[in-house]
Symmetry: C3
Subunit: 304 residues, 3 copies
């Protein structure tokens, strides 16, 4: 695999065969991620974890991935603990930590930060989310979850549900799914429909797409309900928000009889009822786990 020393900035930098290779390697990593097998392939290597914004899941799953492979981690979990408080700029901090480590993971609230950083340093850089921008390792673990649980990505019918206008996760996932032989349904309130240019790109790639505001239209047809949060701040009228929130609430009663699995990038607030958590529908915690083998596969591939 020609991944050594590459930067992982956007899912759109990946070819279908890149993705398939990472997913295959992730599968080999699973016994190590579950600590059923030992692997010291990254012993003596160091990952720099630069989280300018807090994130439990992403930060800890990179730390878990690196340590399960025998490597170490340095870094910070929020901007306050870094020299940012002394007025040091991102540029210098990043170049310095790159001197200490074999790869960097960066999360920052500003779109474009990861690409900027990748151009500054010699070590590989992984984008762990830059504002409204990209979060490619989330997309890879989403794809891995579908493949692992449903056996294949090709031939799936995937519904993306909720805020399709502002959610970076669903944008990246839609582009990635379009590389496979899938059907996609976009389920959202009128105000939060998938942006026109993305719909246009998807239709150019020949993938089947339909849009609806009513989740019942797709419930019997889809294999995956990929749910995202609808944020209150998107609606000027609180009553309007309450009404819409109710119409997109996923609970076990709604799911009854469906064959779909329910995924969510987390954190959720209340868009999926807790009564789904321990049913065969609810796969979001398993999905969170798959972040570890996927990130192990990336770290193993990138670090020379």
């Amino acid at each position: 695999m020609a991944f050594t020393q590459r930067d992982i900035i956007s899912i759109r930098d990946f070819s279908k065969s890149d993705i398939e290779n990472i997913l295959k390697l992730a599968e080999k990593m699973e016994p190590v991620a579950r600590s059923q097998e030992k692997c010291n392939i990254l012993e003596g290597k160091l990952l720099g974890n630069l989280f300018y914004e807090p994130s439990t899941r992403t930060r800890l799953s990179f730390e878990a991935a690196m340590q399960r492979l025998g490597g170490g981690v340095i870094g910070f979990a929020e901007a306050g603990v870094s020299s940012a408080t002394k007025g040091e700029n991102l540029n210098d901090t990043v170049r310095i930590v790159a001197e200490y480590t074999d790869a960097l993971v960066i999360r920052h609230k500003m779109e474009g930060t990861a690409r900027f950083v990748a151009d500054l340093v010699d070590v590989p850089v992984i984008n762990a989310g830059d504002g409204a921008g990209q979060h490619p390792t989330q997309t890879l673990l989403d794809l891995y979850t579908m493949k692992r649980i449903l056996g294949n990505i090709d031939d799936l019918h995937v519904a993306l549900v909720g805020d399709l206008k502002y959610g970076r996760t669903v944008h990246s996932l839609a582009y990635a799914l379009a590389m496979f032989e899938v059907k996609m349904s976009f389920v959202s309130p009128e105000e939060l429909r998938m942006p026109r240019e993305i719909l246009h790109d998807l239709s150019n790639s020949g993938v089947y797409v339909n849009e609806t505001a009513n989740i019942h239209d797709v419930l019997d047809q889809v294999d995956v309900l990929y749910v995202t949060r609808i944020q209150k701040e998107r609606f000027p009228d609180p009553k309007e928000y309450s009404k819409i929130k109710g119409a997109y609430l996923i609970n076990s009663k709604l799911l009854n009889g469906s064959r779909a699995i329910v995924m969510h990038p987390l954190p959720r607030v209340d868009e999926i009822s807790h009564d789904v958590d321990d049913t065969p529908y609810g796969k979001y915690f398993e999905q969170a786990f798959y972040g570890v083998p996927v990130r192990m596969a990336l770290l193993k591939s990138l670090i020379k």
Copy 2:
């Protein structure tokens, strides 16, 4: 030992033989805790350290214990760095970190949190203090300290001194000591006496107990002075507090001629004078050290 995958929530879940087994194993761990010997028995394993309240001693001694055994640690040291700031609930955070790790340690200000978490996840959960609730690893290291320094727990006469009404540490320790052939003296101001129901339970278990407000009554008789902090907030009248604080101050003049060792769960404020620190009486730093081999013994026993 049938400890694998068990949760460690309350000292009252332990039988006397459970405790004795842990203390025996802790003794074997000591050369590793002192880095005189190497041990990689937990290589490739990960501990999730979820500290919703800060704690230097408990958090760092778990990290030391895990790393001395070759394992790794992920987690957070205060709630602010977790996704709690994004509104994610404890439930989801804990289930996700459990997906990444082989055991969880949790500290939380709310009583009952550890038991709640243990019921949610498949990995073993260790309670590192939940508010007014339990802190069982503190009790185990207290017992280990007595055994290690005085040779045995049976036949000791232990005085618990200070705030016996609100201190969770002394409640747990009293119940644990009652499994052994000990005498206990409870030394406290009238306002902070050991709760009646605990006295009742202890008397049912047949252990010798006496109560006094005057530390001089027991000073010549006891093997251990286990001191806890008397908090100013317990007294409406600052003058009353000052008077009482003075009456329970442990200093080297008071100890002169006694055979007792002085223990303290730490942090102390000023209830033990610094002139005791480097005398043969002061054992609280050694006690803190024993937290490492005791926690190593637990981690080795719990993680499969």
Copy 3:
């Protein structure tokens, strides 16, 4: 080397041969610091990193150094996460963490803290900066950088530029350089000249020193421009500050034709223009990297 278990508090505790030995050992550490070679010599050992003030570079480079050698790290990155918030004093925290670890690194805003701590505990203590006091590992990495890039420290002409009155870094470096056969030029505004007593000590040690307010006086003669920040707070008049800041700004136009390398302890604000970063003059990121092998050499030497 007679370093085992020694404390590293001030560069002035080091003999010239101590320094030369550490620099030689650091050179052997470089392939491990670059992860070209593996080394597990500190496997099973633990470093306690006690940062009462935040610091990206120093903290992370100690963590990198320890982990590259197979060891582990525990500690805190700012005072807030420690039990300091519960009113625990430095004394107790430090003694407790010393019980868990094989060496301590401490940064604190109060001068003299590191020496105070070293007297309290049995494990070796490394001063990572105590206020206006010392920061000896910075000086060692500064010397190592000169030796590594320029081949030798003897026969160099080193200019210290900027705030020479308050900067602890330049004070320590001047004393250390005075052990070698160097020339030194002190370039600063009148208000921020090197303190008289240091000039006196240096002249007693027979080293060549000259002072100037004009950087152009030395630009053609020196091998190293060691630049430090001039802080706005030192000047009551903002206009005066702006004028002075401009006169000491290092940019690539100024450097054009010089043989000097530019060093900086970092963080910088704007005293070195970013247009120097990727020229052959700018060596401050390489200098930051050398913090790792130098600290590896110290940790290997100190930890028994």
